[in-house]
Symmetry: C2
Amino acid sequence: MSELVQQSIELLKAQGLRITGPRKAILEVLASTERPFSSEEAFAQLKDGSCDLVTVYRCLDQFEKSGIVESGVRENGTKVYCLGHGHGHHHHLTCRLCGRTERIDLCMGKELEAVAKSFGFTKVTHVMEVFGNCPVCV
Amino acid sequence: MSELVQQSIELLKAQGLRITGPRKAILEVLASTERPFSSEEAFAQLKDGSCDLVTVYRCLDQFEKSGIVESGVRENGTKVYCLGHGHGHHHHLTCRLCGRTERIDLCMGKELEAVAKSFGFTKVTHVMEVFGNCPVCV
DNA sequence: ATGAGTGCAAATAGTTTGCAAGCTG
DNA sequence: CAGCTTGCAAACTATTTGCACTCAT
């Protein structure tokens, strides 16, 4: 089991959450690559019978609430999740044709928070996804 | 009819598209505020009987292809559209409780494009939405 | 043993599509 | 009057919810 999965499990335990087969399996999938997964995609990566698709939805949602994964939104509105991979908040550059994903550390979180605060907004979060056609897909 | 709507209509005509009742009505709604609308929300603003919800979906999609509106995605994945309002590309700060929206001109489009190109990606686009709780909602 | 977690089925939300009829240019 | 547009119905995709059962702690 990867170190990243171990860390995540500790975090879950620390919050009084239970470590189950499906949760471990889903974490393993997320840890396998930096590419963000939708619930359906993560489900597709699981060995047949690992768990139900609904469980994937519920676990990913739970993981997000627990702060061990971050979520984003695809161009088409699909929700995706990825482990912090030990690097905390970041964004992705995704090929809209093949799904290949590169990590982007560029982020204007602080600036956005400053602007938002100037409007009196609190609990500021943001979602940013970058799309393009990768060299392989032309 | 607002100037903004006039401009949009000219753009549609220039592309050989037809100016119909529903299209004008939808443009009026979009022009009424800087707040981005989902198809359902735009539909709700129309006078009863202006047109069918499906038509709103199709028109907004068409408007985006024609370049007269820009689209974004809500935290929950809902697709939203807004007129350029004569200021071109921009982003929004939306209260996740009441929907109040402020315009944000902060954008790292150029930087993102540079990073994406360094990976060999072309046709780079990005989606960014900022959320918070506005002063009125606490 | 107790309640968090899961599976299955069914409900929902948002959006898209097929096709015949209507209206714009 | 040609064919872009629309309306209506139905299909679809992604996600959520209800409920009984199971298993981690």
